[in-house]
């Protein structure tokens, strides 16, 4: 095959040549310097956290545990008096907005959805309240015709509302190459330099199936590494999340895809909470879509009936609002 590949846009830096042990040592040194500076200048910080039986560097896990407890309890206590909780619209309010509930154009349905999301969601992403999640579950059931849940089988992501960022194609088997992942614009994202958190999809090209091709094409990245119980509930959680179907809804335009979880990330300090394959991102927001606000819910699909890929909205407004 002599197809010329587009230039890689993601990893043209010198770091391709840097040894990982070298950067580990450099990072560790920088971290130790900062840690020492903190301890030297403000020894009462260590003392304070010791008094709370908490390593100050475990504050992220501590935060996840507090939030997890609140989410499980469906409690409001986590939100401060200055919080941005909006009153959820009542079904009759939605009906009023939508007119007589007759068959509508698809664009109108997406407009309805975006308006509903805007009236429900806070401007800045944050963990949603159980009541907000339940409202959205009903909306999604009626708009997209599938069962999507913020919590499924007792599992819940650290957040169901956040920013998604563009990812690259994943290596599916040893010897996989970018040219085998489609053609045209979709290849511009390039191939991720490393393997996904679950490694290769198969041991060889011969073992690839149509289903696995679809998984790589429509994959999602979620922050399993920051789940409060990620380290204590293995291998159960790793198995549970592998290729788990999720519904991703772009809150700016109502476009949605069903994707399969196939990698872990992104890092907390990237300003993003999820990742999407080039195909996912292209569908959600177009070729230049790199980052945006989305809702991510698990798809309740015990019989594996729901296909990965774009999800179309229903055409009948009455079916959308009747059960909301």
């Amino acid at each position: 095959m002599s197809k010329k590949l587009p230039a890689r846009t993601y990893f043209g830096s010198r770091s391709e040549k840097i040894d990982s042990e070298f950067i580990r040592q450099k990072f560790k040194l920088k971290h130790l310097e900062a840690r020492k500076e903190l301890s030297d200048k403000y020894p009462h910080v260590d003392k304070f956290f010791r008094g709370k039986n908490l390593d100050v560097e475990k504050i992220r896990e501590h935060s996840a545990k507090i939030l997890g407890t609140g989410l499980v309890a469906g409690s409001l206590f986590l939100l401060s008096p200055h919080s941005d909780v909006k009153l959820l619209p009542q079904p009759d309010e939605l009906i009023e907005k939508l007119g007589d509930g007759s068959i509508v154009k698809k664009d109108d349905m997406y407009s309805f959805l975006v308006e509903t999301l805007n009236s429900t969601l806070p401007e800045k992403p944050r963990p949603l309240l159980r009541s907000e999640e339940k409202f959205l579950e009903q909306i999604f059931q009626n708009v997209y015709g599938l069962s999507a849940r913020a919590s499924l089988e007792g599992e819940h992501l650290n957040t169901s509302y956040g920013y998604i960022g563009a990812e690259q194609h994943l290596r599916r088997y040893p010897g996989d190459s970018l040219a085998l992942h489609g053609e045209g614009e979709i290849l511009k994202a390039g191939m991720a330099p490393g393997l996904s958190a679950w490694g290769y999809f198969t041991k060889s090209k011969d073992e690839m199936t149509k289903d696995l091709e679809e998984v790589e094409k429509w994959y999602a990245v979620v922050q399993t590494l920051y789940l409060p119980d990620w380290n204590t509930r293995q291998p159960y959680l790793k198995d549970w999340y592998k290729h788990r179907k999720v519904l991703i809804v772009n809150t700016e335009n109502g476009k949605a895809v069903v994707a399969a979880v196939a990698d872990s990330g992104p890092a907390a300090w990237t300003g993003k909470h999820y990742g999407g394959s080039p195909e996912v991102m292209n569908y959600l927001g177009g070729e230049r879509y790199r980052k945006g606000k989305v809702i991510v819910f698990f798809v309740d699909d015990p019989e594996n009936d729901i296909s990965l890929g774009p999800v179309e909205a229903n055409k009948t407004l009455s079916s959308v609002i009747s059960k909301t």
Partner: protein
């Protein structure tokens, strides 16, 4: 959501690129992400405590421990430091990223 009240101020895309390009496997990638996370945390705490009057340190630590995710901590800090703490953190983070990239031989 596993998050800290200042997470929205931290965007280290270039450092992330370095890690993704050099980590040999997913475990190593997550380990390197973790080191940077701790480095950022220490660095941000230093910036905050440098600006916050001593008499408010304990109050801040109590609030931080109780609700590490609560972005209202920004309001608390803004009241006490009489400067925009978000700008202070953002600026410090820009310098930190440059510093990290320089350390590993990456130029901007």
């Amino acid at each position: 959501m596993s998050r800290l009240f200042f997470d929205h101020l931290i965007v280290f895309e270039k450092v992330d690129m370095v890690i993704r390009n050099t980590a040999k496997n997913p475990e190593e990638k997550e380990e390197l992400w973790g080191i940077i996370d701790k480095l950022v945390h220490s660095h941000v705490l230093i910036q905050i405590l440098d600006k916050l009057p001593d008499e408010n340190h304990n109050d801040f630590l109590e609030k931080y421990h109780a609700r590490p995710f609560d972005e209202d901590l920004i309001n608390f800090l803004n009241e006490k430091v009489e400067e925009n703490i978000e700008d202070i953190i953002r600026e410090a983070i820009v310098h930190l990223e440059k510093d990290i990239l320089r350390e590993v031989g990456e130029t901007e």
